[in-house]
């Protein structure tokens, strides 16, 4: 071993760089391109306030007369030019996409996080504790699976809308989306984690940890959890793409983000109304962004699944 790689600073980095995962990554152009696209888009979303030429969420800055400006052409009335054109409200499409992506990604990440939290916790409990805990959890999972996610989301949306005080309704939509998508998605995490836990818990090291008197919680956390993370990571990636699409689908059914603070899905829902009328950019750019985002995440998930599964290599 060289001395440089032993110094604590570089060793972790270089170990990460030299790890099998990173190696497989460097060997897979699709993964690299996807990761590049995803990072660009996520970065664009995070930095939207800095990057976007306008703030489409601030109604005071909008000029309705700028509506339907084609990309990179001056508006007939105001003479303003927008790189990707404007939508029906005169919002800059580029800015709206950047800000909309923030919402879509936030909903996606938060929903997946919620699903993961629920699924991993319940899956660990079901697998490790077993008995009636397992029965109840897995029964609930079955019930959840029997009910189509889209209807679950609509039900949750309906109820949440009713119980939230009107002054919070504006922000509510996003949280309800997260809740709805997250709640309809936890089952697959729970199933995978339970399965893996059942395998792991009979292994020697877990038995040993139990013998030396570690608490159940710490055994689950320290010993079993790291071993089930790989499949969880893969499911999480795919779920992220699904969640972003689910948000778009729900917005078509009128239970998505509000049009004043549109997500990518809401933008597409609005944009498709202008499909026949020639204002293609209102639909095209958000749809292309969504496609790029979801496709890249899916491709990354595919690669991750293959790369993390040593038997497949």
């Amino acid at each position: 071993m060289t001395t440089s790689s032993n110094s604590p600073n570089t060793s972790r980095l270089s170990r990460a760089w030299n790890s099998d995962l990173a190696w497989s990554f460097r060997q897979t152009p699709v993964a690299m391109v996807s990761a590049f696209v995803v990072s660009i888009l996520i970065l664009g979303a995070i930095l939207a306030p800095l990057l976007a030429p306008y703030n489409p969420f601030d109604p005071a800055t909008l000029n309705l007369m700028n509506g339907f400006t084609p990309p990179s052409q001056p508006n007939a009335f105001t003479g303003d030019v927008f790189v990707l054109g404007t939508d029906d409200q005169g919002r800059d499409v580029l800015s709206t996409i950047l800000y909309g992506m923030r919402i879509s990604l936030f909903v996606g990440f938060a929903a997946v996080f919620l699903a993961m939290l629920l699924g991993v916790t319940l899956g660990l409990m079901a697998g490790y504790i077993g008995g009636w805990v397992e029965t109840i959890i897995m029964r609930i999972a079955d019930i959840q699976l029997t009910f189509p996610s889209i209807l679950v989301a609509m039900l949750i949306f309906g109820i949440a809308k009713g119980v939230t005080p009107p002054e919070y309704r504006d922000q509510m939509a996003i949280w309800v989306l997260i809740l709805a998508i997250g709640l309809s998605d936890w089952v697959q995490f729970a199933r995978v984690v339970r399965g893996a836990t059942l395998v792991e818990k009979n292994k020697e090291y877990v038995q040993a940890a139990r013998l030396i008197g570690r608490s159940q919680f710490s055994i689950m956390l320290r010993h079993i959890l790291p071993n089930v993370l790989n499949p969880v990571l893969v499911i999480a990636t795919i779920s992220l793409a699904l969640a972003i699409i689910a948000e778009a689908t729900l917005s078509f059914l009128g239970v998505g983000a509000p049009p004043t603070k549109p997500s990518l899905g809401t933008l597409i829902r609005i944009g498709q109304e202008f499909m026949f009328s020639g204002e293609w950019w209102i639909l095209f750019f958000p749809a292309a962004t969504l496609l790029a985002l979801a496709l890249s995440i899916n491709l990354l998930g595919d690669w991750l699944r293959d790369a993390l599964n040593p038997r497949l290599r």
Partner: protein
């Protein structure tokens, strides 16, 4: 019942497939009109629902005493002439058309009129509000009827244009005397079967799917109207894009509710045309000025909308021309009052009174003590009016210019309208059509203090006993000049108080194959006997 249904369906299928064989799939037979609009008729019972698409379908099958033609003018239908009785202003006399037969062959007589009006006035009828002034309907011989009202009612004829005549004998024979009651426990015969005097008879109907009509060869007006359309296939298509696609691809010949953004596409497509006319409907925003404090604003302890200067400033912030240009693609008529131009009481001056002046609006806001603005929630439907949600969104941006921060809550009409009638909204969008073509109708619902029988749609909390008295007096005032003066004085109050923020009058757009010839009726109700087909 089931057997009968399926039999009828089978017949229609056979008939249609015969037609298909002759004509092929896309090229329609010259006289079959394939018609699509967003919604379907709710019921075939002509008195059960007072609602546009329901009336439109009923107009093809049934007839009232008087109809409005495609330009909105009165035209004799089952009545040939009508006038108030010379010696008694409380009585209208209608002479009936003779020799008219129902689809089943029965004769149309004064007995049917009495039956139909009484049926429409019965408990379960949805039309009874229009007839509330009627005391009694009497048959005078076989072909004359007298309507006695509680007081003089100069506008009675305009209340009868959607009141369809049913055959008494048919209704009695089929246990359909009572109007279909939504909670009645059983569906009535008249809700799924028809027997009218109209130009078309029902062939088959699957609600929300397809309704097929065919020409009534025995129609009394067979030679008075073009009647080029011999068969009608009516399909509701909710999704706007799909509806337009159906027209563009030649699968339908005639659609109502063309989205404004697609007008160009339709009119520039070979063989298609768009026809446009102002609609009898005005779109406006209502403000709850009556509440002591608003529910969803950031001003504590007082109601900014109670100050007329704030209401005026908000109206001045709205750029109606921009909404027309961009949101409506030119397909609207900016409004200065909440009466469509067809309505008695409308004046060009008042309708042009809306001015956009952000600077002046800001000054007014400052004068009222809201230089920094305030925040408020706007409730808006998203499935009721043309581009309703987009209009609200545009208003949000415009009001932001004068410091009014608006949270937009757009929702389906089923959730939106109860907010207005239950006093649960501070700021809302509403559209209003005036079937009677008279201001009284507007005042009754939108201006009169909210009470048990008037002001049910007045969500502004506005109350003024003088105005209320004036509104009530309109119902019985027979001196038209005096009545019109009262109407003007009421309008003056409405305008001065800036009771509502008028946005625009809707414009109707019908998309159709070039072979279809028709005017666009301001009520959005095509009557196909007037249509020509080339």
């Amino acid at each position: 019942m089931l057997k009968q249904n399926s039999k009828r369906r089978l017949t229609s299928v056979l008939m249609l497939s015969a037609a298909m064989v002759v004509t092929g799939f896309t090229a329609a037979q010259a006289d079959t009109l394939r018609w699509a609009r967003a919604g379907d008729s709710l019921t075939l019972d002509p008195h059960a629902q007072n609602e546009g698409p329901t009336h439109t379908l009923a107009h093809q099958i049934y007839e009232p005493l008087i109809i409005r033609d495609m330009s909105g003018a009165f035209q004799a239908a089952l009545a040939t002439d009508w006038a108030p009785k010379a010696d008694n202003p409380n009585v209208w006399v209608f002479n009936l058309r003779q020799g008219v037969k129902y689809h089943d062959g029965a004769d149309f007589t004064s007995e049917d009129v009495v039956f139909s009006i009484n049926r429409a006035m019965s408990e379960n009828s949805n039309m009874k509000e229009l007839l509330s002034s009627i005391k009694e309907v009497r048959a005078v011989g076989d072909y004359q009827v007298e309507f006695e009202t509680n007081g003089p009612n100069p506008i009675l004829p305009s209340n009868l244009t959607n009141l369809f005549m049913m055959d008494k004998g048919w209704a009695e024979a089929n246990n359909a005397v009572d109007v279909q009651d939504v909670e009645g426990g059983e569906t009535t015969y008249a809700a799924t079967n028809t027997n009218g005097t109209g130009a078309y008879r029902l062939v088959s109907r699957e609600p929300d799917v397809k309704t097929v009509l065919t020409i009534n060869e025995d129609y009394w007006g067979r030679n008075d109207f073009p009647m080029d359309v011999t068969d009608i296939v009516y399909t509701p298509i909710q999704n706007a894009a799909t509806r337009v696609a159906a027209l563009l691809s030649g699968e339908v010949d005639f659609i109502q509710d063309v989205p404004v953004q697609d007008l160009n596409r339709v009119s520039s497509t070979d063989g298609l045309a768009v026809k446009t006319a102002p609609q009898n409907r005005v779109i406006f925003l209502g403000m709850n000025m009556g509440a002591a404090d608003l529910k969803n604003d950031n001003v504590e302890g007082k109601n900014p909308l109670a100050d007329v200067r704030v209401r005026r400033a908000m109206s001045m912030a709205i750029n109606r021309d921009a909404i027309k240009q961009v949101v409506m693609r030119g397909q609207s008529q900016p409004a200065g009052m909440i009466a469509p131009p067809f309505v008695n009481g409308w004046t060009a001056d008042m309708d042009a009174s809306s001015k956009t002046d952000v600077a002046a609006a800001k000054a007014l806001m400052a004068e009222a003590g809201y230089a920094d603005g305030f925040s408020i929630q706007l409730d808006c439907p998203n499935d009721r009016y043309i581009n309703d949600e987009a209009i609200c969104q545009a208003a949000v941006g415009m009001l932001a210019q004068i410091g009014v921060q608006v949270n937009l809550d757009a929702k389906p009409k089923a959730q939106h309208f109860p907010l207005i009638t239950n006093d649960q909204t501070d700021f809302y969008m509403l559209g209003w059509g005036v079937p009677t073509y008279d201001s009284e109708y507007i005042f009754n619902f939108l201006v009169h203090t909210r009470g048990s029988d008037r002001g049910s749609w007045n969500g502004t909390g506005f109350t003024n006993t003088d105005v209320d008295a004036q509104i009530v007096s309109l119902a019985s005032e027979t001196d038209l000049a005096k009545r019109n003066a009262t109407i003007q004085s009421i309008w003056n109050v409405v305008q001065d108080e800036q009771l509502y923020i008028p946005i625009h009058h809707q414009v109707l757009n019908w998309g159709m194959s070039e072979k279809v010839g028709t005017d666009v009726s301001p009520e959005d109700d095509p009557k196909f006997k007037f249509f020509t087909m080339n």
